[in-house]
Amino acid sequence: MKPQVPSIFESFNARALTPAQVAKRFVPSKQFRDLARRRHTIVLGPRGSGKTTLLKMLQPAALEAWDHSEAEEIRQSIDFTGVYIATDIAWGEQLKSLGEGQLGTKTQAIFSVATFTTHVFRCLVNTFISRKAGVEGFKGFRQLRIEPGIERAIAADLCKEWRLVDVVPSFMGIRHALSSRLSTIKELVTCEALLGPGGRDGRLAQNGFLFLDVVQGCSNAIELFDDALEQGETRWALMFDELELAPDWISSLLVRSIRSSDQRLLFKLALNPFTAKSSQLETPLSPSSGQDFDQIALWYAEKRDSYEFCTQLFGQLLEDRNIPLKNPRKLLGNSYFETTADDWRELSNAYAPGSRLAKRFKRLYEVDISFREYMDKKGLDVDRLDQLGPNQRASDVRKIAPIVAVREFFRSADWLEGKGRSRKRASLYAGAESLFAISEGNPRWFIAIMGDLLNRVNQKHDRIPEEIQADEMQKAAERFVAMLKTIPTESRTSESAFRIVKSVARYFNRLVVKEQFRPEPPGTFKVDGACSGEIVGILGQALNAGAIVYVPEDEGQLFLSSLREKRFRISYLLAPSYGFPIRLGPPVSLSAILGKRAAPAIPGMLPFGESSEEQADAGR
């Protein structure tokens, strides 16, 4: 019977998992080891790149539950208590909707900051609770025996500090009181919207809790906790997920706090690669990367960089399914682009006449005039590629082999015929190495694709057929495209994240497959000065969604307050849909790509004004 598994949509949403569930399949990466250092850190990555998982793994309960060969060593090295502070899109929308547009900016900011502060206090109390040793007295990672009397005393002091009244003096009591405070804030907002601005300042001032400082409030609470338990001065990491959703005032305060002298607090902030908040790190007084904090990127510009992480995650998925540990290539096969040991073994040279690669070169040579001209001009004989010296083979043949592979594949009559074109197209990207690249090392996508594939492994553990791999890749790409189409655009023109990304992907496919053969066609793009501000803004959305990937020229500069003059590539997850090579290539200007587009057949502009959209929505 097929095991009951979470759906693609539910399969890897670390936010909803308990610390123990996150720890169950956690694979430590270099980024995690960096994050676990006693340093302020900013983690950058698109949606699904694993920011939440990394932060949640630093909670005491997750570290305690983690069973991995490296777990003990990493646990020993961590000398702080991680406080995970969750945020998500829907909650961000609630903060933005506070007051329903009927409160001024200042009042709205007071309420949204108070809401966020209350949430942070609640998360801190959750961490206090998680540090309490169990009734049996067993003390796990960073757990403490907290006598009831001590807890009551801490709780009473916290109530004073956070202006809570009529609270049962326990950590649980405080947590409930903070939940109630969130309800109270909503009621106050509703009242203020009805009462209007007259006398508002006085009314708000009566509720002192609205003006508590989030960092100071946490610092004081931690001091109370440590002092009561005679811990001395320990360190605590406030770990903010999806900080771009927090009110500006809060994020600005947190960024400034990185430079504070409070040794007790560490800040670990997770952000999208491109947000307006990036500018908060660019003022003269901002903390600087490398000196005041470390920055960690959760994307891989070069596909090979994700391979190790993917291999480990693959091993974890096999273990979950009780499949004996296997080399990924045993189950998924080699990629279409690889030169394998078999290629060398059978004919002593991977490019010997009759070999898989030599045949590919020869087929293309026979059907593609421009390729033939290129080879002839270079003096390369497709029947004697094996006789080239190692250096020339490397520079003239191996370098163009991936381009030849894609070009030959798409130009073959077999592919052009009839049904199942999308599956045939995706089958080009089957095999372990390509599949890993397609996943972008993004845990959410990796588990979505691999999870379903591994559920199909038979009892003999035979290789998973290419067409099945192609199906799963295609499904993942379709879901990704559906999400891209959902990204709302604020512009009143026809541009959208999906349309731009599709244009670039098709352009790269055309360069490789349809136009004159070029040994090194562009595979990346630069956002040049001719691109409008609107295009640049939309690209920022595409970057945060993971549809384009930043290829930094300088590894030390990962923050993007502007995308201009920066280099990007299209996510390899879209390769099965659009048929471009999964490799970096030289950059081309984005305006040159977009300038060659045809006008959309059905423009995205609203042809009949605002209510065209309204009435279309009405018609269901």
Binding site: G99, G101, S179, F608, E610, Q615, A616, A618
Partner: protein, 317 residues
Amino acid sequence: MRDVEIAVAPCSDFLAADYSCCFYTLGYEQRSTFAAQRRINQTGKRVAIGYYDCHLFSYDKNKEWYQSEGIEILECLRGDFRQCVSDVISGVLSCIQGPIRILVDISSMDRYRLATLVDLFRLKGGDAEINVDFVYCLAEYSPPPDLTALNRHVGPVTPQFAGWWTEPDKPTVTVVGVGYEQDKAVGAIEHVQPAEIWLFYPHSPVAEYTAALKKANASLVGVTKQGRILAYEVDRPYDLFAKLESLVAGLESRANCILLPFGPKIFALAALLVACIHEKSAVWRVSGGEQPVDRIGHLLYAMSVKFRCSEANPRSL
């Protein structure tokens, strides 16, 4: 300010009943006038709320018909809609003592306007009992609209329905009313990245919708856990409300809910009413991205909703 109680019941006398006020929609679909045409020669205030522009297909013909019946026309922009309708309701409330009965035809009404109306009834129900019969005209089959245009909005249907989570760290659950628009529900779900998905799958008396729904939702249904796909009959709105309310009541104890009403308008109405009862839950919309389609009326259904001050828990400021 007072807490407002909402009671929902089936409704069958909407074609003959007397109403203090009738709200119709003046849109470009033929079905805009379907309900009003079956209620001619009625007394009371009657208003057809139109759109400021996009006067396509049958818009002018519908407008002419409403005018010929002496039905007042209000053509307003989205930004003015709330005030326009609020003024009309206040006018009616000021003329009548005691409970009032209002008819609202939601068939050609967009989700933003529907949410605004429900919110206004919720607010004004604190001052007087308001009984609203919501009428929905199921359209004859038309193929799914093209989705080549751009998406303009994904988020709360209006700020009033953003929900309010007192435990933001709880898992997010989406309850999706599926429609026959390819990729829309999948895209919205991917955007929200919920921990859990529940699907409400419509069964329509118009058979052609069944195949279109199946095609559009094959991938979504294929990956949704068994037991989390709940069918509902489009022609039984009260049953839908009861089922949806019961689900959200159960989920709220362990999760934060977002209702995503795609598909028949009646699901959007049910979602909004449920969110009035369960105020922590949010109702979202994904708008834009569709080309206009003229729809022809076919069958009428209705549901009665009572908005009144809660006697159990009066709360004044």
